[in-house]
């Protein structure tokens, strides 16, 4: 998925640069520490170690947390916000089970620092439905049996629903592209295609052509 890499801001690596200068010097032999410090001063202030207070906007609500600056968004959602719909599997950006949206784009929340999600719109699986009213992708996943054990399902749905935000008339290839990073060991993929295309049809303006 093209926007998966387009996280912007701080990644785990970025965090190391920002907060762990001293510890990371061995890895930075070819760049002077001073230059790096200068870069840091310009870009962001050093935080941690130790918990810091942050506010995140999750599913439209502002929530306050005391977190280690190294905490990933996935961790903060699951452990601090008790929002366990988002799953962690590989914890390194290669399965997409932890997919959430930030400012309307899908990201792997295990590869995103919570610090970096400050001031941005975070949407999780818990925020996809409007109360009791499920999102069409959710509805069609049920309709088309697009889940088995369900562990990959929240991430898969976040990827598919995001596609429909961007593209009202997706083709089968678009769907494949959108969830190319989402692993499902139960092998529900063909059902995911069907469900997503049906959801596109269900949403106004889509014709679900494949």
């Amino acid at each position: 998925m093209s926007n998966r890499t387009d996280r912007g801001g701080l990644s785990r690596r970025g965090f190391l640069k920002g907060a762990g200068v001293a510890a990371a010097t061995t890895a930075l032999l070819d760049r002077s520490v001073e230059a790096l410090a200068q870069e840091n001063k310009e870009s962001r202030s050093v935080v941690g170690p130790g918990a810091v207070a942050i506010t995140l906007k999750v599913n439209g609500q502002h929530k306050d947390f005391q977190i280690e600056p190294s905490a990933t968004l996935a961790e903060v959602l699951r452990v601090h916000a008790d929002m366990t719909g988002t799953k962690i599997v590989c914890d390194r950006g290669s399965c997409s089970a932890c997919t959430v949206w930030i400012d309307g784009k899908t990201v792997c929340s295990c590869m995103t620092l919570a610090m970096d999600a400050r001031g941005r719109e975070i949407k999780t699986i818990e925020g996809l439905a409007q109360g009791e009213h499920l999102h069409p992708v959710q509805e069609q996943f049920i309709e088309h049996d697009a889940m088995q054990c369900g562990f990959c399902t929240p991430g898969m749905i976040m990827s598919c629903a995001n596609l429909l935000e961007r593209n009202k008339q997706p083709t089968l290839d678009d769907v494949k592209q959108a969830c190319s990073g989402n692993l499902c060991r139960c092998g529900t993929y063909p059902r995911v295609f069907e469900a997503t295309l049906a959801a596109a049809k269900q949403m106004k303006g889509g014709n679900g052509n494949a």
Partner: protein, 781 residues
């Protein structure tokens, strides 16, 4: 209309799509909870010299560390043979084997403490391969044999015979939810453990033994698993016991949690096999004799290896009648994590061997392999006895071989592929059709039993529990459908609760595709008993003699939420809920326990003869692949699959099982390669290095159909178990690759190919063939 046969969505569908479904790690922290993990052996084989935990205990947040003398009860356990240690005492037998148990307040502290543990080991020489194990006579358990006819005679007298070796790789289960357990200490030594396990009863007994308390002190609960695939049949017990041990020692709730990487590094996988075979056949490719020696890599301990080898041997024939056959088997002992169950349970390896042989016969005779398969297929009236003496009944194989090639347009596409391969210099196409005849039942007779508890509440709603654990396969959904129909109430009036050893005791693992067959039958039994009792009572309520109608239990019908007398269905009726309410007031027992034991199954391990399976599930798949001749890269272009599902209880869920199983099988034979370092450390321990099928690997054309088979009278509602059989059809992708390679093999030569057929493997095989002489494409037939 009844619920059975309907496409009812998965029991947990709504929870899964909304993120509400609770998996164990989603359970909010219990008050005062600690996290548990272990530090493991640094080497594959050695004697422990010392264990130094002094630094680890100093890590801020670490609560306690434990080693083997701290185990309150037995440190040694095992599902069949007691040869596993919870915490290694003297000897370590694989890299990462648990040695020190750590409890900490946070996951961060746990990580730091793991690194601070120092385990010093005097290394002993390890064994990592089947060949090495054979050379060093390193085996687990005695040899096994199944034999029929005069194999030696048939092999020597045959006009055509050849021998070969097939190397089959393992497979990581890769359930998305890693092994996990949450233990909650109770009163007077009691313990409740939430475990992601396919076998709560075994977890219960192992925890009891580790804690040194009676079984009735331990309750194991499994609400659902984020995938199991066999990997949580026996190997969930270790983590559950570790959590329980810490909880018992500290009197605090304890959550065992390991990363995906550590889970992959330290748990068992599908067994690699080495097959050494000699086969004889006639001019038409009909197999007259087969002698196969199977060697499986059991890893460091027995686990379920013996039963897995047994199932591989019982599937050495797959769908073919082989008059003279000898199958011998041994489990090799190596210094790798103990290999364990994985969907198919040895069956896939057994089947792969004979399908490979068929491809080779086809290549040698220059006859399309589909013809060879048809000629060897089990017959309906004769040629229908398996090597172990069971007769193949309700044999759908001929019908499947009749229907699928037609719908898949086999002949037309074969001609096209012949033509394509004659002309293309850059690509190769291949196509193959393989069948499956999978035996349904546990080969261990005792396990073919189940119990279920059905409780009716006074508002007419019903709660059911069985020993079947839910891992996505839909056992709970099917049980709900069964109970709803048996009691004649709406599906929504029934719920299935978490599997728990305090409600259902002495249960079998949810495995061998038998989850619904066994547990559904037990639930039905409970419903039948309840219905009989309620019919007696209803007869007194519906007809009191007025209007000349006397109460008659046999006339009472339960349907659509009503109970009525079928002699006067319109006026002698009441709501099910009203009947229940009255029955309660009149003190009628409204709960029942059902029981089921599969009839007629029996198998004698010593003689290798018997009737191990209640029935067989059949299917066929035809796969077409496209190979890049320069890189070995391979794509699955089309798959047509036809499965005999009997009369499905839930066609939608069944279809999902079929597609998912096939995709998993396809992964095993193509991209999933386990790579170990020379020191026995797993290199491919995350999805970054271990490649399970992703969305782009799904065949471009993928047709899945169910064969209508109303004649299957032996099993539950004439349905057929489908959990494992479709996985074995993934083999058709591998044989299709082999078929593609056969197009460039010099005449009379056979392309060799290990499994999985990774691009690397394919490229090596291509290179061998091209170097071996004729690089020119030869047309088949």
């Amino acid at each position: 209309m009844g619920a059975i046969g309907q496409n009812i969505p998965h029991d947990s569908a709504r929870g899964h799509v909304s993120g509400e479904s609770v998996f164990i790690d989603d359970m909010l922290p219990a008050r005062n909870e600690v996290f548990v993990d272990f530090a493991g052996s640094p080497v594959a084989h050695g004697e422990i010299v010392s264990i130094d935990t002094s630094e680890a205990i100093k890590v801020p947040g670490v609560v306690a560390v434990f080693t083997h003398p701290d185990v309150p009860g037995h440190n040694v356990f095992g599902p069949v043979v007691k040869d596993e240690e919870l915490l290694a005492a003297k000897e370590v037998v694989f890299v990462g084997q648990p040695v020190v148990l750590i409890a900490a307040e946070s996951r961060g502290a746990l990580c730091a403490a793991k690194k601070a543990v120092k385990i010093s080991v005097k290394a002993l020489s390890p064994i990592f391969t089947i060949d090495d194990a054979i050379a060093k006579d390193s085996f687990l358990g005695p040899p096994r044999k199944i034999e029929r006819g005069d194999v030696a005679g048939a092999l020597t007298s045959a006009k055509h015979s050849f021998q070969g070796t097939l190397v089959i790789g393992g497979q990581e289960q890769f359930y998305l939810e890693s092994q996990i357990a949450l233990a909650l200490p109770g009163e007077r030594g009691q313990m409740t453990v939430h475990s992601s396990t396919q076998h709560p009863t075994e977890c219960q007994s192992i925890i009891s033994e580790v804690l040194g308390v009676p079984f009735n002190h331990v309750t194991v609960i499994c609400k659902r698993m984020g995938g199991g695939f066999g990997g949580k049949e026996t190997q969930a017990a270790g983590p559950a016991a570790m959590a329980a041990m810490v909880a018992s020692k500290l009197r605090r709730p304890a959550r065992f949690f390991i990363s995906k990487d550590d889970d992959m590094r330290t748990t068992g996988k599908r067994h690699p096999f080495k097959m050494i075979y000699r086969v004889a056949h006639d001019d038409r490719g009909v197999i007259t004799a087969l002698d196969v020696q199977m060697f499986s890599d059991g890893g460091c301990t027995m686990d379920l290896s013996y039963s897995i080898l047994e199932r591989a041997m019982l599937h050495a024939d797959n769908a073919y009648f082989i008059p003279n056959i000898r199958i011998t088997g041994r489990v090799c002992k190596t210094n790798l994590p103990s290999n364990t169950a994985f969907r198919g349970f040895g069956g896939p390896q057994g089947v792969c061997n004979v399908e490979n042989i068929i491809e080779e016969i086809a290549a040698r005779l220059g006859i399309d392999a589909i013809e060879i398969r048809k000629r060897n297929l089990y017959g309906v009236d004769d040629r229908n006895t398996t090597p172990y003496g069971q007769i193949v009944r309700n044999n759908m194989l001929p019908k499947l071989f009749d229907e699928l090639p037609r719908s898949a347009e086999y002949q037309r596409r074969r001609a096209e592929i012949d033509q394509f391969n004659r002309t293309s210099k850059t690509q190769l196409r291949g196509m193959s059709l393989t069948p499956v005849k999978f035996g349904i039942s546990f080969t261990k007779k005792t396990l073919n039993q189940a119990n279920a508890l059905v409780n009716i509440y006074t508002d007419g709603t019903v709660m059911v529990s069985t020993g079947g654990t839910e891992m996505g396969q839909g056992v709970n959904t099917r049980v709900r459908q069964i109970v709803a129909d048996e009691l004649g109430i709406p599906y929504d009036s029934v719920i299935v609760t978490a599997t728990s050893t305090d409600k259902n005791n002495n249960t079998s693992p949810t495995a061998a595709s038998s989850g619904t067959d066994l547990n559904g039958a037990a639930a039905r039994d409970a419903c039948v008993k309840l219905r009989e009792r309620l019919a007696d009572y209803a007869a007194t309520q519906l007809c009191t003699g007025e209007g000349g109608l006397n109460g008659s239990p046999s006339s009472v019908v339960f349907r659509d939420g009503f109970v009525f007398d079928d002699r006067a269905p319109n006026d002698r009726r009441m709501r099910f809920a009203d009947l229940i309410c009255r029955a309660y007031i009149d003190r009628v027992n409204l709960g029942e326990r059902g029981f089921y034991a599969t009839p007629g199954v029996d198998f004698n391990r010593e003689t290798g003869q018997g009737h191990p399976f209640l029935y067989f599930t059949n299917g066929v798949a035809c796969s077409e692949v496209l190979i890049d001749r320069f890189t070995g890269e391979m794509r699955v272009a089309r798959v047509d699959l036809l499965m005999d599902a009997g009369q499905p209880i839930n066609p939608g869920i069944d279809r999902g099982q079929i597609t998912g199983g096939f995709i998993q099988g396809m992964g095993w034979v193509t991209t999933e390669e386990l790579k170990w370092s020379l020191n026995g450390e797993l290199w491919s321990h995350s999805p970054t290095t271990y490649k399970i099928p992703n969305i782009s690997d799904v065949p471009e054309i993928f047709n899945v159909e169910l064969l209508h088979n109303p004649d299957n009278a032996v099993s539950l509602y004439r349905s057929k178990a489908l959990g494992e059989p479709p996985l074995l059809l993934g083999v058709s992708v591998w044989t299709a690759v082999k078929n593609a390679l056969s197009y460039i093999a010099p005449a009379g030569e056979v392309a060799t190919l290990d499994l999985p057929a990774t691009p690397e493997q394919i490229l090596m095989s291509l290179t061998r063939l091209v170097r071996g002489g004729a690089s020119k494409v030869v047309a088949r037939r």
